[in-house]
Symmetry: C2
Subunit: 382 residues, 2 copies
């Protein structure tokens, strides 16, 4: 990995947007950027394994302002938001968040955002990598609802890791420690408007700070670094090792519009037995009735450490290509190669032996339970 | 620019997709990739100025499979496609294409694809960088139309430049030279199914070959290279110098969802006086009635050659920030710095003097006519 990163390698012109923290990430030595929601996502400052250990032992800050928000409001804000997701939003209190899937009329997953409920009819969706703003506007075109749909000036950063609580306490005082998992509070940090949520993409203890004034990105970043210095805070890329250990999915890799929630293990986000009115209801009822034909399973890949997959490796059973690996990585803690594969249900049982074509040859692979590491007790399913 | 490109600088895991030509672009020495429609877009094999001259003097091939297609079909395929765009599609013959804007119910530009009409009710939209598949599915959710909307296995490449005709003739025989501007034909190349269109992103003479079988990417690429060898064909990145000279806009930079077609000079794509039924009609009628408040103008920036802008530079008038530059680049042929700026109509008149804040200081800037170089006579507006 080079010492500095030449943005010309990933950027041409002003088409892709910069985060409010962009200058800070450059100054703090970010050495790789990928693109997510038409913006640059800092993905590495150092070796990913070092960044992983730092997350476990200390605390990391991630610029995830690429989690663009869609704000839905107006008299029918609740109704439109409910149309988009099969999770029963009548169960979501004001001040609460929920992990949800956005699902289209054919049962395909459009996105898997964190939803927060700011008012009776006002919601934010913190997006994975797809244009939900356009999907929502499309749905609203003929839904005959009184709504406003827009992208507000809101840019999250994540504070994750074993010392995240100490950093957040130093920044916001002890009240922040009262936040329940997936709850949030609106507050100010020395005048900077923010929303603080107890959420994250790690299975570690963590928080997100949603900056609500893009002109203050640099200022907020340095305040976080100052507060975190005693706890050895470091900016890093999002840790794929840690999220895969935790069984967390990455939209675009582990699920796409081609998948329904049931086959990727997100059936718990589908409240068909509620009275909620969502546009995927008929399709999801049909899929539930017929059952799924394939399933995203946990896998353990034998042999020496693998590199993080950059394509969807072929999975074979009895010599025949039957599916593909969506994510696979070496866990330094488990000393194993772990990941997920989409396979027909005939090959989805725990203990099934498969073969995986890695760039370094075919490997013996076993279907195993996920998550690979149980989340901390403080982190319930939400 | 390095000799080889480390994909880890822009890629983490298998979230972003590879083009069917990806292996070929690596083999042929691509040294920079950006991301477009969740895929890797080869953006440079060499210095962009050298690539520009090569396009003018010889012929270039671009991997633009990032121009993902949305296919709309079914009994109401025409009706849904017409809902999405304010251009009167009754004027589009079978076998013909049109440059169109997709516009939402508020008048905002969602995308500016090339549309081709494959059947009475069957269309492809070759997309700029936004998820029109999701927008179209959203619109269809409550539009009560009988349609199918999907992404077909179709991956365009562009053959552009003064010798493009010779290369296309060598590949497809003389019949290809009969194609009118923005017309297309479905054919096979040694068994490989393709659609050939007379379109492009240069203002030069050019064609696109839409590969209709992703497994044949490498084979098609090498056939094109073989046919092009006598004409000195080279793979290059899309030429921003040439497209700015031609007055062509880049979605995401020169126009976004925040813009309506009138203010960016695309009013000629809005057929309000037709009977076409499109969902942006009311909003666009209102905007036409009230008039626009700002306009995307051509600009000439004084002083020594500038680098291609990577952010939207501030435009000042009388010391006050009044707008921003969306694209600006040095034209080696014109020996001038040219580009576009979005400014209030009070500052949009030809000859208006402005200041632009470039990374190398403030520069005198003048509003000028665009395009900067008239298209070849063979290239009418379409």
């Amino acid at each position: 990995m080079p010492d500095t990163f030449d943005m010309n390698l990933v950027q041409r012109g002003a088409r892709l947007r910069r985060s409010p923290y962009f200058d800070a990430t450059r100054r703090h030595g970010c050495r790789a950027y990928t693109v997510y929601n038409h913006m640059f996502l800092p993905s590495a400052y150092d070796d990913p394994v070092k960044e992983y250990w730092h997350l476990l032992e200390h605390v990391a800050v991630w610029d995830v302002s690429v989690e663009r928000q869609v704000e839905i409001s107006g008299r029918d804000g609740f109704a439109l938001t409910q149309l988009l997701t099969p999770r029963d939003l009548s169960k979501c209190k004001l001040g609460q968040g929920k992990y949800v899937v956005i699902v289209d009329q054919d049962g395909g997953i459009v996105n898997d955002p964190v939803l927060v409920r700011l008012g009776k009819n006002r919601f934010w969706l913190a997006l994975a990598d797809s244009d939900v703003l356009l999907f929502a506007k499309g749905v609203a075109a003929f839904a005959d609802l009184d709504v406003e749909i827009r992208e507000p000036d809101v840019s999250p950063m994540q504070i994750q890791g074993s010392k995240a609580k100490q950093v957040m306490k130093a920044l916001f005082g002890p009240k922040v420690l009262d936040l329940g998992y997936y709850f949030f509070m609106e507050t100010k940090l020395d005048g900077i408007p923010v929303v603080v949520t107890r959420t994250g993409w790690t299975g570690e203890l963590g928080y997100e700070i949603y900056l609500c004034d893009g002109s203050k990105g640099d200022e907020l970043w340095e305040k976080v670094m100052d507060a975190g210095r005693p706890y050895n805070i470091r900016p890093t890329g999002p840790s794929d090792i840690r999220r895969i250990e935790a069984g967390i999915l990455n939209y675009g890799a582990d699920m796409t519009l081609e998948n329904n929630p049931f086959e990727v293990g997100l059936g718990w986000l589908v409240d068909l037995d509620s009275k909620a009115d969502f546009l995927s209801r008929k399709a999801l009822e049909r899929i539930r009735r017929r059952g799924v034909t394939r399933r995203l399973v946990g896998i353990e890949i034998g042999g020496p450490p693998i590199e993080f997959n950059t394509t969807k490796w072929v999975v074979r059973a009895g010599g025949r290509a039957v599916g593909h690996v969506t994510s696979a990585i070496h866990s330094p803690r488990l000393k194993k190669n772990i990941g997920y594969a989409m396979v027909p249900i005939a090959h989805a049982k725990l203990g099934t032996r498969l073969k995986v074509e890695t760039p370094r040859g075919e490997r013996d692979t076993t279907v195993v339970r996920k998550p690979f590491i149980d989340p901390r007790k403080e982190i319930p399913k939400s």
